[in-house]
């Protein structure tokens, strides 16, 4: 039986990968992908806590499904924004999107 901590370690690793991607990548699409990784790391956390600690109630699963839904929506919106920016500025580099700069 695989203990809970393994899952948690996996999830933390995955989160860190995602976080690194978000913070370090230049491509906005890659940043989005990093966010997806972080969300899914959280999902793993949720599912494993549910499974190991309180399998009688469905809350963990339900929460995960909601997160997935949010992630899908977020990806759709994010990609749409990126496409829109690309059409206007001909770039998907996050550093070029500095309209809000002082």
């Amino acid at each position: 039986m695989v203990p809970l901590s393994w899952y948690l370690v996996l999830a933390a690793a995955l989160f860190c990968v995602g976080l690194y991607g978000v913070l370090a990548r230049k491509n906005a699409v890659a940043i989005l992908m990093g966010i997806e990784l972080m969300l899914n790391a959280v999902n793993i956390n949720l599912v494993s806590f549910w499974h190991y600690l309180n399998p009688q109630v469905m809350a963990g699963q339900m929460f995960t499904i909601i997160v997935l839904t949010v992630a899908a929506s977020e990806a759709a919106v994010g990609l749409a924004l990126i496409i829109s920016i690309y059409r206007r500025r001909n770039s998907v580099i996050a550093e070029d999107m500095d309209l809000m700069k002082w």
Binding site: L23, I31, E95, M97, D98, L99, M100, K101, W102
Partner: protein, 746 residues
Amino acid sequence: MFLTPLVAQQLTWLIPLPPLLSFALIVLFTNRSKLLSHTLAIGLMAVSWVISWVVFFNTLTITNFGGLAAVIQNAVPWLPFGSAAVGTQPLSMGVLVDPLTGLMLFFVPLACLLIFIYSVGYSNFGLPREAHDVPGTPPHGVEPLYSRFFAYLSLFAFGMLLLVVADNLLLLFVGWEIMGLCSYLLIGFWYARNYADPKQITPRQAAVKAFMTTRVGDMFMMLGIVYLYSQAGTLSFRDILYNRDVLAHLASAPSIIVGLTVSHVVGLLLFAGTVGKSAQFPLHVWLPDAMEGPTPVSAMIHAATMVSAGVYAMIRMFPLLSAGWVPGGALTPPMLAMAIIGSFTALFAATIAMTQSDIKKVLAYSTISQLGFMIASLGIGAYVAAAFHLVTHAFFKALLFLGSGSVIHGVEHGHHETEHSAAPAAEHGAEHAAAPFDPQNMFNMGGLAKRMPLTYWTFVIGGFALAGFPLVTAGFWSKDEILAESFAHAPAVFIVLGLAALMTAFYTMRQISLTFLGQPRSPAVEHATEHEPIFRPMLLALVVLSFFAVAAGWVGIPEHFPVIGGLVPNWIESYSVGGLLERPEALAFSYWPLLTSLVVALGGLLLGWWVYRGYQLGQADPLEAPLGPLYTLLRNKYYFDELYDFLFVRPVYWIAETFVSVWIDKGVIDGTLHLIGRAALRLGDIFRNDFDLPVVNGFGDLVGKSVNRFGRTFRVIQTGKVQQYLLVLMAIIVVLGAVLLLPGLR
């Protein structure tokens, strides 16, 4: 009577209205058309005249006219504020024609109408408008304010007719005041006129002077009316004056002044009103200066309307003034005042008239003097004589004024002509200003009899009537009656009036000699004329008036007069006493007053002719040497203007300009206000500088500036790089997480 009473009443209501209508129409609609305006004014005045004469001649056919229920009277309620508790009746507005009103209706509308007609010529109707005529100055072409002139005249006539037909004292007072206003407007008609000599009174000032002076009298008169109303309970003439009970009550009831009864106090107050209106001493000063108005106005004021109104009011109130007096007994205080002031004024004004050089000023003082005759005769109880003289005087004085206007016009015309021939037209205005020619100065005239024959003859008729030329002129009969009455009742008055009559004849002849006889004494007079078309209406008025100046006397020939007495019934006597309760007895004939009349009239005329027969240009007035310093005194009108200036005008100016304006208004009131203002300003400064600016504004600015600085400082973190934000977010989460989760850091 050929009118039914109802028709007569209604016609009487209509008498004053046509002039009012023409005033309104001219002011509102026709003032742009000179022709239409004067047609309206004259036409409607003629309507008024016709109605008046119909009513008047109707009264001749009423039996016992003036007696109980034998007058034309009609009244409607007007001001319902009487109260039965204090015994006063509501005020009514109504008309009354009794013998006295009848007499007034005989001459007032006729004289007004003739003056209106005269004004057409006098205002140069028919001449073109001259370019350099300024509105409000005497014109050379047609009067620029022609329509306005006729509007004012109409209103004036309305005021007089209203006063004449009024059946109560209040309505009479209304007409009285309307005339006061109109005299102001008309005396100041040439409001823009200025003289080179700053001491010479301008029409503007003369208008104010007339208005203010008569106002003094009016004030007393109003007090008298109010007092009478409070005591008698009514202001209706017939209720008071034709009622023995009321008169007896008023004559015996003690008044607010100890020693005088109500009728005395009321009489004296009303007489004060007449003193102002009829220019008796000491309120006579306005009338000579009223000559600044156009001449038809002078005729209007001094003959037909205004000054007659004062005497009319006195004759009207005579039963009240004489209440308690029995013929031959002691005079009542109001009568005594009238006898003294009247006779004094008659003499006093006559002396001044002897030395005046202005043709109109002589007539002005003669008016004052003749009014004095009337007042004095009323004062000694000679009711009929006063009324008679009022009528004849109106005719011959109107005639004289209009004649003098014609003279002035003719001389001005001649002056215009000589100037035009002497100087090119371009220099006209400048020369005019440099050498002012006085067309009214009699010493510049002479010989006008040949240049203006018709004016001359009418003027002689008027002058002889004024002087009382025996038998043929109206003035003789009326003045003779006054003298006869005073001879019988008050010898002192007789002597004074006789002297005044002598002077009257003298200054009249002096005027005629200087103006018409001898040789012309200036080029303007040599060219004077009366043959221009504009003189036609003027001469028409003169001729009609001169007829009445002669004929008006025939109705009053005493019955016992030698030779011609009784040929014509003494109509004026029998007619005018009709309105009196106590009819005076006819005077027994005496030769003394008649002889006096003859002597003073003829002697004065002869003396006047003799003294002035050879007067040459540049000579001093022949009176100057024999009279010496007295001449200067008379010439300066006893310095009354100066005295009043010193006693009243300057103190009032001082009170107004120094006391009230400088001290009270600018000193105390303005000072206080300025103090409050300065204090408020100071307080405001303190608030502003020491509180508002540093505290309120400082705080507000500080907040703003702080926010600004804060923003400036921190805006650098807005890099616009999303990953940096995330990094910061991360760091914060890590720190927060550490703080929250690690127990050691809590």
